[in-house]
Symmetry: C2
Subunit: 398 residues, 2 copies
């Protein structure tokens, strides 16, 4: 029996400080599988992609991975071909030292864009990083990938597949530059389940759609977003197939873990004081519902009103009005949690508005919009826009 | 000879405090033309339109206007059919008292959305408002339309048309909820030129395209945006036709005045400490250039970096990368004023970066992006995102 919930058979973890971060905090992490693991991955949709993303997108096609090397403090983005070469060299050095195949090493970086990767520091850190690999090292990796995160973020779950207990552990970093199609966000998941890369990829895509692609903090999609899921099969059950009953169980578990991780990002949103679900109902299509939800979630005026605990619903209607979907303003209903605040496009009066004002004093609440245009819906999680968001981001590099 | 530059033959102005604004500041303004003037107007593209906008869009079709009644402190938006009825009733009362046609009265409102218009207060204010009409009352109207503006905004110009001196005076309000396709912005322009409404509309559209549609503060398009241009022909020159040499002169003058007014909005952007021109060059199409410019101008991370005087160009590239236009990151050049900071998608090194860091310490500067994809360009004006923007908007209604 495993006593630490963040141990997964056959995986070793390590995280150290290599001096990339000025404050001496951990900045280099390593996830290692004793045997090449099946791997699935999703990457940023930003057209400006960091060097490690470019490398991983190529390497992952083979479906196998044995080591993931992650650094924080430097994004290795907008660093040109030099950035790619240097990342490949680092991967090579790691592979040599560990006696594994170059192409089974994946890379991930997060931090400042446009500064050459401090390769010397990473190179010098590798021996210690490898030496410290341990089944109990999970927390060290989590710490090494943090940037503006105020606390480590991780989730785990277990299920049974074909008579064997299977474990899934996930970590995530991210607190700003967070928006759909992955956030500025790194997430690494490992499991001892026995699943082929193709099915794994399908499952990861589905789980990401239901989790990381439904959060937004500031509407920014980073150059480095990466989600990786490694499955080494060490749980010892026969290969899981798409049609197996337990495939559904695993899918569900993966969604739960990813949702939990996505929520933890929003709860730790840069400077966030509010944690808000935006739910759009009655849209003509899912795309319309999505556009409407993001229009609200990205409106600086809505977000600052939430920060000010001002039930200024007019700003929500205004945001809906310029989001470029067909709209009948006179049919819109709006609720803060279950309290109606707008009915048929108009305020419901002072008494209910006063009750709605109480709702947004809570740390977490839901804004529901019913467009009464159709049957589609979409929901996402977001934060307010606070003074601290500006403070954090005005001085990020200094 | 007119001694006050903001006097225009045949126009009278008035502005008073009617008690809509809690602080006793002016909140009701009136622009009156002694004879029905030719009128052109442009209105918000937000699908949620305020009552006065709905009324004006209908009335302006006739091309004539004799009075514009404006209130601040209440937007009369999201107030349903009741809001429209009440606005019409107010217009009717004004028309009766002034002995002019109902349909020659246009209306404009700005302020909080979703609160019923305080019709009683406006009604009670009308006699004083009318009584105070004066050729020198311009400044009172300007003050009566201000909301979060920190100072009055106006421009004037003159030109000669067919031997007569023509005057054009414009005012504008707006400091937040500012984005293309008109900003949250009211602008009223009056001229004594003799121009038919159809040509006037064409000229106003062109001038708006070159001015108000090229500024953005927070990416929000309001429910109330309105630009009106009244021309009463009192300058006494023969009708100006589209093909007249002086039509070009007038167009140019109108563009200059609108540009000046648009710039003054950005310079007074809510909480703004920086005034930034974003210039995109080398795009495949004007639309691409426009998308790229707005992606940068609306990025909270770029805007907070400007506020922090941090030459964090990586955020600019990141914003470009997720703006959904074809992009070759390795060909992008970036300049702060004339100082290069990115060449072929990569940083130019510490020495130049230090110089670029000096540029963004200035109150006003230009960010130029060359995409090297084609020959189209677009530029716009924007601001940073400061602590004060959040403070102003977190407490707007309280």
């Amino acid at each position: 029996m495993i006593s630490n919930p963040f141990e997964v058979s056959g995986f070793l973890f390590s995280g150290i400080s290599s001096g990339i971060k000025k404050d001496g905090k951990k900045d280099l992490g390593l996830i290692y599988s004793e045997i090449p693991a099946q791997v699935a991955g999703l990457f940023t949709t930003n057209r400006v992609k960091a060097a490690p993303v470019l490398i991983d997108m190529e390497r992952i096609k083979e479906g196998l991975c044995q080591a993931v090397l992650i650094n924080s403090g430097n994004a290795n983005a907008c660093t040109g071909t030099q950035g790619v070469k240097e990342a490949e060299r680092i991967a090579s050095l790691l592979a040599q030292r560990m006696g594994i195949e170059d192409r089974y090493v994946l890379l991930s970086s997060t931090g400042v864009i446009g500064v050459p990767l401090p390769v010397k520091k990473i190179e010098q850190g590798l021996p210690e990083l490898i030496k410290k690999l341990s089944p109990e090292g999970w927390m060290n990796v989590v710490e090494s990938i943090m940037t503006t995160d105020t606390h480590p973020k991780m989730k785990w779950a277990t299920c049974r597949i074909k008579g064997k207990q299977v474990r899934l552990c996930g970590m995530v970093k991210g607190a700003g530059m967070i928006r759909p199609n992955l956030a500025t966000m790194l997430s690494f998941l490992v499991t001892d389940a026995h699943i082929k890369a193709t099915l794994l990829q399908e499952m990861l895509r589905e789980a990401t759609e239901a989790s990381y692609n439904r959060i937004t903090i500031d509407g920014e999609t980073s150059t480095n977003d990466t989600v990786l899921l490694l499955a080494n099969g060490k749980a010892g059950h026969p290969l899981l197939n798409r049609m197996d009953r337990e495939a559904k169980t695993f899918r569900q578990m993966l969604i739960e873990v990813c949702r939990g991780l996505a929520e933890s990002i929003v709860r730790d949103g840069e400077g966030a004081t509010k944690y808000i679900e935006i739910m759009i109902r009655g849209a003509r299509s899912r795309m319309d519902a999505q556009k409407a939800a993001y229009a609200i979630a990205h409106s600086p005026l809505v977000k600052t009103a939430f920060f000010g605990e001002d039930a200024n619903w007019g700003r929500i209607l205004c945001a809906l009005g310029h989001c470029d979907i067909p709209l009948n303003p006179a049919r819109i209903d709006l609720f803060f949690d279950k309290t109606p605040i707008v009915k048929n496009g108009m305020g419901v009066g002072r008494r209910l508005e006063a009750r709605a004002a109480q709702v947004i004093k809570k740390r977490a609440f839901r804004v529901t919009v019913d467009l009464h245009q159709g049957k589609s819906s979409f929901s996402l999680l977001t934060t307010d826009l606070s003074l601290d968001y500006v403070k954090i981001n005005a001085s990020y590099r200094s």
